[in-house]
């Protein structure tokens, strides 16, 4: 699942992940939509790519709520705001990637997160 308010990032991230064999089951434009989308899934996503600065609800706020619903989901922060890195780790984020990052490295981290989940890789 991808949570980012920037349409270009939504489009590009989904394409790159799909070409790498992952299934993107949802795209949310802000933290509030991310929480309600997460609640609505009967099969929860294993990994969430989470931006931070978004309208309505931030990535940090959304992460706290999502982890309360399901503490097994791995949330990878992808943000240009390095000042929230410590807070993200403190509230339980799996890892933090500062924008701009190269996807070839992030993909390795997503695979690692999925293994941590004790679930088979989807790619």
């Amino acid at each position: 699942m991808i949570v980012d308010d920037e349409p270009a990032n939504q489009y590009l991230f989904k394409k790159i992940l799909t070409f790498n064999g992952f299934e993107v089951i949802g795209i949310a434009e802000d933290g509030e939509e991310a929480v309600s989308m997460f609640k609505s899934f009967s099969n929860k996503p294993k990994v969430i790519l989470m931006d931070h600065r978004m309208p309505v609800k931030t990535g940090i706020e959304a992460t706290k709520e999502i982890l309360q619903i399901d503490s097994n989901v791995k949330i990878i922060f992808i943000s240009a705001d390095i000042s929230i890195k410590e807070e993200a780790h403190f509230i339980g984020a799996f890892s933090f990637w500062e924008k701009p990052f190269a996807f070839e490295s992030l993909i390795y981290d997503i695979k690692k997160a999925m293994v941590c989940n004790n679930s088979p890789l989807s790619n």
Binding site: A8, L12, K15, I16, R53, P55, V56, A80, K99, F103
Partner: protein
């Protein structure tokens, strides 16, 4: 007896002279005290002014630091991911074409950001002259610009104005105000067809005649806790998800001696959309 009276008179005279001297001395001291107090007051005001300037300069530096570390990096992310995708889909001309379009849009976004920074910095240091400015035509041009920017998207933008020609005390930057509000209303919108109703009416406040321009949208809305913060970027770098646009809008409206705020389109339910309200002093 006569001698005694004479002495008393002499004493009184001396006492009077002494008192006069003391009063003069006291007046002099009071004058000195007043001058010193005035100097202290002036010096305090100067210090406060310097502190205020330093605070403003600090906020500005934080604002630009935030801008470069956040917004520019987000744009670079779009370009980098676009290039990575090109490397993956190199044998599919349609995918390549679509990806290049996204990269170009990111470059355009970067150029827009630079343009906004330039305008903001000009507003901070230059004396802006205001003139009688017609707004209906500027609004029409701004709507055309918004439609061109989102040419792949269907949208309804309606204008309800009491006249075809209305004048305010402003300048050509009024178009930046309209464009930023319109683009935000389209961008932060999850409806299949973004709808924006622009209403222009007369408004009086404290004896001043204003034109009230309202932009009502069916977008995602803004929660109460963020309604003021969205205009304050630079003073609060932790404002989330909003670009530079609304800071520029607020600065321009301040220069026009106007006001801007945002309220719920349906009072009490932010999820139904926002109503951006602008007041600008009207001229005949």
């Amino acid at each position: 007896m006569l001698e005694e009276n004479k002495d008393k008179k002499e004493d009184l005279k001396q006492i009077k002279a002494l008192l006069k001297q003391e009063i003069a001395k006291r007046n002099k001291l009071e004058e000195k005290l007043r001058t010193t107090l005035e100097e202290l007051n002036r010096s305090n005001k100067e210090h406060l002014f310097i502190l205020e300037n330093l605070k403003e300069a600090y906020n500005r530096a934080e604002f630009y630091k935030d801008l470069f570390t956040h917004d520019i990096n987000n744009i670079l992310q779009g370009i980098l991911s676009g290039m990575e995708l090109c490397g993956i889909v190199f044998d599919d001309p349609d995918e390549i074409k679509a990806t290049i379009k996204v990269i170009k849009a990111q470059v355009k976004r970067g150029a827009g950001l630079v343009s906004n920074i330039r305008k903001l910095s000009q507003l901070e240091k230059t004396e802006i002259s205001l003139k009688r400015t017609e707004i209906c035509n500027s609004l029409k041009n701004s709507i055309d610009y918004a439609k061109t920017t989102y040419q792949d998207k269907k949208m309804n933008i309606k204008v309800d104005s009491m006249s075809k020609q209305l004048y305010v005390r402003a300048n050509e930057l009024i178009r930046d105000v309209f464009e930023n509000i319109l683009i935000n209303a389209i961008r932060h919108n999850k409806s299949s067809i973004p709808e924006i109703d622009v209403k222009i009416s007369k408004y009086q406040k404290l004896g001043i005649n204003y034109l009230k321009i309202e932009f009502q949208d069916n977008g995602v809305g803004i929660v109460d806790t963020r309604k003021e913060k969205i205009f304050q970027r630079g003073e609060n770098k932790r404002i989330h998800g909003m670009g530079l646009g609304l800071s520029l809008v607020k600065k321009i409206i301040d220069i026009y001696n106007g006001e801007i705020w945002v309220e719920d389109k349906v009072i009490g339910d932010h999820s139904k959309g926002s109503n951006f309200v602008i007041l600008i002093p009207e001229v005949d």
